[in-house]
Symmetry: C2
Subunit: 111 residues, 2 copies
DNA sequence: ATCTTATATCGCAAATATACGATAAAGGAA
DNA sequence: TTCCTTTATCGTATATTTGCGATATAAGAT
């Protein structure tokens, strides 16, 4: 039984892990780059740029949306996605906080 | 066929994704915290602190090691793990670089 | 040599993730 | 209305992750 015990950890750890997970696939990082480079909301342009099928891109977009990193609104027959800067800033700040927290403690390598 | 097409992306994207993946489980974040809080190399203490079986912790440690975030040396019958600060700094810097790169482009939300 | 302790690895089960083609849904164009 | 375009979702196949118990391994203790 693959009892995924993620609940046993702190909320903070779970949130950070979820953010990291959203960024844990190169396609999703590439998607974020595309979204950030355009001032307009993009839809199928991502499909043209990335070497993945339309349905696969759609799935990655869904995961980024669930993670809260992007917003998506329906715009006629097409969809409009863009980065949720507020969530993104919040997460990157928390990430840096983790980094700094780790760094502060132990500077002398012990092995 | 679950052809994992990660190779089709840039090295940078792959590296960042791999780093994010290492941090994509709360147990691994918790392990890094434990390692950073101790000045001595820890081994089984992690098992006592976290709600996971010894074999599971060992597996997470292995993944962190493969990702390059920690070093491990055998010290008699026990193992000694600690954070590889050099790798850690490098990755956190690259991450921040990604964050900043994304932020620079598009400040006006479009949807 | 035998026992104990600490850790890694194996084998397995279940859950998730990745990817794609096919199809559905929704709106614009003819 | 009927087509076309765009995107989401379904179904499916395969790969990877997560987790645990059992076992192997390796070194110190007795």
């Amino acid at each position: 039984m693959a009892n995924h015990k993620k609940e046993s950890f702190t909320h903070r750890e779970q949130d950070l892990a979820a953010f990291a997970k959203a960024l844990s696939h190169p396609a999703r990082i590439a998607i974020l780059k595309v979204l950030s480079q355009k001032n307009e909301c993009i839809c199928g342009e991502i499909v043209e740029v990335l070497p993945l099928a339309q349905s696969t891109i759609s799935q990655h977009l869904k995961e980024l949306k669930i993670a809260g990193l992007i917003d998506g609104t329906v715009d006629g027959p097409r969809s409009c996605y863009c980065i949720n800067w507020k969530a993104f800033e919040k997460f990157s700040a928390e990430f840096n906080s983790l980094f700094n927290n780790l760094k502060i403690r132990n500077e002398k390598a012990c092995c």
